[in-house]
């Protein structure tokens, strides 16, 4: 035990230990100053350091952790969502067929847990666990006479960012593309490789080139023909961001991109809502998206947003008539999809009392987006739909949100028997309580 040789040292030792062991971790500079001022000797300081460390490792949870020295930051995070859902999907029926109500009311939950690690030399790694297996939803419905639920790996990645300009990621990862749920469901974590090059043009402008190679399906190479190839999505995007206005709080983002699939197939087994099982060919999309954010339009902390997204399939004709089998004499190819929305918010969504309201209208041609990737709630990821989405979010506390979302869609081209495009109309209401940790 430390032999206290002076009242100063007794006071210091007692104060440091009594004020909490976390403080012990930061007390080195303070001890150094006391040594420099001659209040404690070097030897007394060393003994005090050891006592503080011993106290830290013995009496705190953090002191008992033994983390690799290669870790510069370890972050645990996640959220738990309780949801009430009502939806109605009304398919278009042949003349004289019996009406179908097709209503669903259910209670659901979603648990997500993320572990992200920053390592030395610009490396990072992480994984995420969640309660659903389908890539477009981690929800589980309370059912099965109180059976338990599975946990799945939603992300597992290794990243490397050698400097501020470059970032590379391998594995199942967060989508790096700038997009909306017109084309990409926010729950879908692509898998494969991604690269970002970011150029800082001025203090108010950045230009990024983003690319992603998304391994959608591992197929059997022994089978001949297109079915033997692994299915890949290749997406590239240029993103320009400009900050402006007072304190540069307002921003404009413009993103143009191109995505293409190789000649392959998605076989049975895809779990997404309205997944398309079959060939991924004839999908070459040009995309254009962006947003304008105007800060403090109605007082401090308020913001108005206008956002848009669009997609055009350059091979929509082949997709609609050859892959989906539609009759060109009866139906247009439905090559384009677009979304336009407005939003108003107060705060950043991280503090009690913050709120946001968003409303968008969109139209999705039958061959305009990949139905395996688009939002699973709006029209249940079916195409040949038009309609809107209204979303309200309110922060009950800094860590808990109350959200209400309403979707309403209608068919664009009537008379399709093709299942992906025959949804006459749909409605969905989601009421969520989300706790973030």
């Amino acid at each position: 035990m430390l032999h206290l040789k002076s009242k100063w040292l007794a006071l210091l030792g007692g104060a440091l230990i009594a004020t909490g062991s976390a403080f012990a971790q930061d007390s080195g500079p303070l001890i150094d100053i006391l040594v420099k001022k001659g209040i404690v000797t070097d030897q007394e300081a060393e003994e005090l350091r050891v006592d503080l460390v011993k106290d830290f490792v013995a009496n705190t949870s953090a002191g008992k952790l033994n983390l690799s020295s290669s870790i510069s930051e370890l972050k645990f995070s996640g959220d738990l969502r309780m949801r009430y859902e009502y939806n109605a999907q009304v398919p278009e029926l042949a003349t004289g067929a019996a009406a179908v109500a097709n209503e669903t009311s259910r209670q659901r939950f979603r648990l997500r847990f993320n572990t992200d690690v920053l390592l030395q030399k610009g490396f990072s790694a992480g994984f995420a666990l969640e309660t659903g297996q389908g890539s477009d939803s981690a929800n589980q419905t309370f059912t099965g006479a109180a059976d338990d639920y599975g946990v799945f790996v939603a992300k597992a990645y290794i990243g490397w960012s050698p400097n501020l300009n470059w970032a590379f990621v391998l594995g199942k990862q967060k989508n790096i593309m700038y997009t909306t749920d017109l084309r990409w469901d926010a729950d879908i974590n692509p898998q494969g490789a991604s690269e970002i090059y970011k150029s800082f043009l001025t203090g108010k402008d950045t230009f990024e080139v983003r690319a992603m190679q998304h391994a959608m399906q591992d197929n059997n190479e022994q089978v001949t023909g297109a079915a033997h190839r692994d299915a890949w999505l290749f997406e590239q995007q240029a993103v320009y961001t400009h900050w402006f206005g007072k304190d540069n709080l307002s921003s404009l983002i413009v993103a143009a991109g191109y995505s293409a699939y190789n000649q392959s197939v998605i076989p049975t087994g895809a779990l997404n809502s309205a997944a398309f099982i079959g060939t991924v060919r004839a999908q070459n999309y040009g995309t254009f998206a962006g947003e304008a954010n105007l800060a403090n339009v109605n007082g401090a902390g308020t913001a108005f947003k206008f956002y848009w997204d669009s997609s055009y399939n350059f091979e929509a004709s082949n997709r609609a008539y050859q892959v989906y089998g539609l009759n060109p004499a009866l139906f247009s190819k439905g090559a384009s999809a677009w979304l336009a929305g407005v939003g108003y918010s107060y705060g950043t969504g991280k503090v009690m009392g913050d709120y946001s309201l968003k409303l968008d209208y969109r139209s999705v041609g039958v061959a305009a987006v990949d139905p395996n990737m688009n939002d699973s709630d709006w029209g249940f990821s079916k195409t040949n739909q038009k309609g809107f989405k209204l979303a309200l979010s309110y922060n009950l506390t800094d860590f808990a949100n109350f959200n209400v979302t309403y979707f309403d869609t209608q068919i664009i081209q009537h008379g399709m028997t093709f299942s992906l495009g025959n949804l006459d109309k749909s409605h969905e209401v989601l009421v969520d309580l989300v706790v973030k940790f």
Binding site: Q25, V35, K36, D42, Q43, E46, E47, R49, V50, V53, K54, F56, V57, A58, G63, K64, N66, Q120, K121
Partner: protein
């Protein structure tokens, strides 16, 4: 009967001699020159004592105290929290005793035109941000960096003191001891490295001031030299027996004179 008594006496003497063996492991900075010299002097005054000294880095010295394979662990750095924790788990109390102060000197080849560096430049060179001597006023050419290996206390101390805990440049070459660094820098006109004060008088190298401050007894004791540090003996609690006597000898006036003679800074 006489033979039996003699044999017993001989065995007792051997056993007694082996009980006087002092095992000291750890820092190359302390164990290459200073502690062997102290041991020789101590042996001269205490003929029955023998020493086993292994200088393979501070990490091995602290580990030896935790494992109980040495009575004294030499270290040129403080024990890490994980080491203190591991020691506590085994019922070992890490007791540091400052035996000398040291300044980590920046050395370059004697023929180098460099006459001084800033702390920022030192950090940038050893972290790999600066790779050519021309960036710091030297003769154009790639910088060859020599550092200690990862078991060395000086290796981690230098990262803390000089590099804001950043990683060394991937091109840096890891050397087993101070003498190896001196040897390589003396041969390489583009070389730079760091060594303890005790190694700064070797031929073929020169010490570079950092922010205008040279490592010296005065600048180290006054804590004005930026890369000054204490060096330690670690023991399991208060040292006892022969280990206590050797620690006392090291801290005595006679011991501290040896500290000074070898090139370290005495504690008083």
């Amino acid at each position: 009967m006489k033979k039996l008594i003699l044999l017993l006496a001989a065995l007792t003497a051997v056993a007694s001699a082996s009980a006087q063996k002092l095992v000291i492991k750890g820092s190359d900075t302390l164990g290459a020159k200073l502690v062997p010299t102290l041991a020789e002097e101590y042996k001269a005054k205490n003929p029955g004592v023998s020493f086993e000294i292994a200088a393979e880095g501070s990490t091995t010295g602290i580990a030896a105290i935790i494992d109980g394979t040495a009575q004294i662990g030499m270290s040129s750095r403080r024990a890490k929290p994980t080491e203190v924790s591991a020691a506590s788990a085994k019922g070992v109390t890490m007791k540091p005793t400052i035996v000398a102060f040291d300044g980590i000197a920046i050395i370059v080849n004697a023929a180098s035109p460099i006459t001084g560096l800033t702390k920022r430049q030192v950090e940038q060179i050893f972290a790999g941000d600066i790779t050519d001597w021309s960036a710091v006023g030297g003769t154009p050419g790639a910088i060859s960096i020599y550092t200690r290996n990862t078991s060395s206390g000086t290796y981690s101390d230098f990262k803390d003191l000089a590099m804001k805990k950043r990683d060394y440049a991937s091109s840096s070459q890891k050397m087993a001891g101070n003498e190896q660094i001196v040897s390589e820098v003396a041969k390489n006109p583009s070389g730079i490295g760091y060594v303890g004060l005790a190694y700064t008088t070797e031929p073929g190298i020169k010490v570079i001031p950092v922010d205008g401050s040279r490592p010296s007894k005065e600048s180290v004791l006054a804590k004005k030299y930026p890369y000054a540090r204490p060096t330690f003996y670690y023991t399991n609690g208060e040292p006892t027996g022969e280990a206590a006597k050797f620690v006392d000898f090291t801290l005595s006036d006679a011991g501290q004179k040896i500290v000074s003679r070898i090139g370290f800074v005495p504690i008083r």
